[in-house]
Amino acid sequence: MDFLDKDNLQNDLILIAIFAVAILTMPIWLEPFGASYPDLMQKFAIFGIFATGFNILFGLTGYLSFGHAAFLGVGSYTAVWSFKLLGMNPIPALIAAVIIAGVFALVIGFLSLRRTGIYFSILTLAFAQMCYNLAYSVLTPITNGETGLRVLRSDPRIFDGNGSDTGPLVASLFGIEMTGMAGFYFCAVVLILVSWLAIMIFRSPFGLMLKAVKTNQNRMGYTGLNTRPYALAAFVISGMYAGLAGALMCITDPLAGAERMQWTASGEVVLMTILGGAGTLMGPMLGAALIKYFENIFSAFNEQTLEHVFSFMPEGMRDATVSLAGLFVGEGWHLTLGLMFMIVVIFLPGGIIEGLRRLAKAVFGRKRPEQSHAARDDAAQTAR
């Protein structure tokens, strides 16, 4: 409940300013971690948006959706269609993706939110699996089936390409091509904007209502309040965030595939949110960054890298260490993920944010709440 007692604008402005600086300087301070290449940082930003949106539904409102990847996929397809029809400008693609994903979320949420608990989870899962299977088979004219949808030179693209043989096939914002660092900065700016929006939602009376829905829905009902519209609004907002993330994926790489909608992708965002700390502002983003970091860095480790890392050891010991560590990296990085995940859920139910908070408490002792709050946010920033 710590966000309730400091809903003053100034603190939030400081928070978002620190956050913006941290995000925009990522290429500098991620250098020592070997993560400062644009592809990975784009993923940090995109999955940060996805997880932040999911957090509005799960962390704030308490509904565990297992089908959020569907909105990601819908957003992706919409963005690519916007490229195909309108041209490679990312702005209309973003707007269209958010709107279409929102409409989808409205329909699915309207039906799913009639149930709570695991029934809600299974309903969203069922809807998402339906979307996935339909995108894979029946809707091939729209989704191009298992090949995936991509922008072609022959597409109409009424505003730029117009079927000509020249012209780029990457998204470009008024001449700036959305690849590499430019793509990252575009995602980063969007991330900062929607994080600001998320903070506003958290602090608003609407956010308070969502929190109340999570705490005790029955009691809310007894006070005469209909909670369904609030939950539905949260569902739609988080669906829009997911659609936005999906569109950004296509802006940095104009290709949409059905596998983005599979239930494992929905599971991934749940993992990100829990790992970072559900219900906290920065937690989901932190979790998303961590999982994407492991996925990209750990899975790239091979035996030579490991031998290099452990080269200080005597030979026999090195071989043993390398083969043992080899289980956890490269192909086997999922093992690391699963273990990390179990450890966090077992020992640190509040996620990494909770851990940092405890750490800050241990280091700085019990100070005035304002300061510990700032310290925690600082710690969260530096840990990214």
């Binding site: 039906l111 029934y119 029946v138 093992l335 995940f341």
Partner: protein, 342 residues
């Protein structure tokens, strides 16, 4: 008519697998109140018990055949499984019946795995929110899956069914249809009978033994049973083990139908959760009925006639039915009030 019968049969063995997994899930949920996302992994572990035994039985002895020369002038090698070399005829029979034999191996292994899992991990999550239970068991499922992948590799490993039941049965002639109108693989028939037998055994165990009676009482009201001086936790732990055995056996017997690979558990998990929810969380009969029902519906939906009217229906029928049932009957087909809501 024969087409319909064939589709029903086709659906029944898949339905049997769904029903067995869903039965175990519901048992765990009904007794311990834990949503076990690692249940698919238990199914997979069962299948890999069979793989392990099969690989053990087919370990080959290499010897040199002095009477037979290769074109290069060196003696040819004879490769023969040890079990045949040592036991002759009996050995080959054992090899032939590897899958049914794995049941004997799988029961103790799965029982131990289930009990260790419950005591080591799940025990600490009774009082925690369902979301956390889902997440920790999901993490466990990933870990188990990866261990299997490291051990057995990522490719599917085909295991043959015993020769005696490897062909197809001419079921049509039993019911008075024309000959070969309905031919059906023997092993699928065996699987169907097996799953029915296991389901009956579990129900009989719960219905007719004192142990089962206490467990049922504990499912209804855990506290009161505890107050009577019965160590209900221990019995629930054993029930977790039994649920693991049921899932494992479903996996063992499924190996000749679907060559096991490391992610088969996840594939079945989602479907079996849908099955459980359609049947009604916590209802054993509901889980079994929904398992068979959805299996049959799926096989009907994969008929070409139906697919030509509704393309892609075979992929989504289960989810469609799940959504429809959940929207009409909030607690599934046979669910009780107040289970897993809120």
């Amino acid at each position: 008519m024969d087409q319909i019968l064939l589709q029903i049969l086709n659906g029944l063995d898949k339905g049997g697998a769904y029903a067995l997994i869903a039965l175990g899930l519901t048992l765990i949920f009904g007794t311990l109140g834990v949503v076990n996302f690692a249940h698919g992994a238990l199914f997979m572990l069962g299948a890999f018990c069979a793989v392990g035994l099969y690989q053990l039985l087919t370990l080959e002895m290499v010897s040199i055949d002095p009477n037979n020369m290769t074109p290069w002038g060196t003696p040819a090698e004879i490769r023969q499984p040890y079990i045949e070399a040592w036991f002759g005829e009996a050995g080959s029979t054992m090899l032939n019946f590897a899958v049914p034999l794995s049941i004997l191996v799988a029961i103790p292994i799965m029982l131990v795995i289930g009990i260790v899992m419950e005591r080591g991990l799940v025990k600490h999550f009774y009082r925690r929110p369902h979301a956390e239970q889902i997440l920790v068991t999901f993490g466990l499922a990933i870990v188990l899956q990866e261990i299997i992948k490291v051990w057995f590799g990522a490719n599917p490993i085909p295991i043959p069914a015993p020769e005696a039941v490897s062909g197809s049965a001419d079921i049509g002639s039993w019911f008075g249809f024309a000959e070969n109108a309905i031919s059906y693989p023997w092993w699928r028939l065996v699987y169907l009978l097996f799953s029915v037998a296991v389901i009956c055994a579990v129900f009989a165990f719960l219905q007719f033994t004192t142990f089962g009676m206490v467990v049922r009482a504990g499912m209804a009201d855990r506290e009161t049973v505890g107050l009577l001086g019965i160590d209900i936790d221990k019995r629930f732990t054993i029930m977790f083990g039994i649920a693991a055995v049921v899932a494992g056996l479903a996996g063992v017997m499924y190996t000749p139908i679907l060559p096991p690979d490391y992610h088969m558990g996840m594939d079945f998990l989602v479907l079996s959760f849908v099955v459980v929810v359609v049947g009604g969380m916590g209802s054993l009969t509901g889980a079994v009925a929904a398992g068979f029902l959805l299996g049959i519906l799926q096989s009907f939906a994969s008929m070409t006639e139906i697919k030509s009217i509704f393309p892609g229906i075979d992929q989504i029928i289960i989810y469609l039915v799940a959504v429809a049932i959940l929207l009409v009957r909030p607690r599934g087909l046979m669910g009780r009030k107040g289970v897993m809501e809120g």
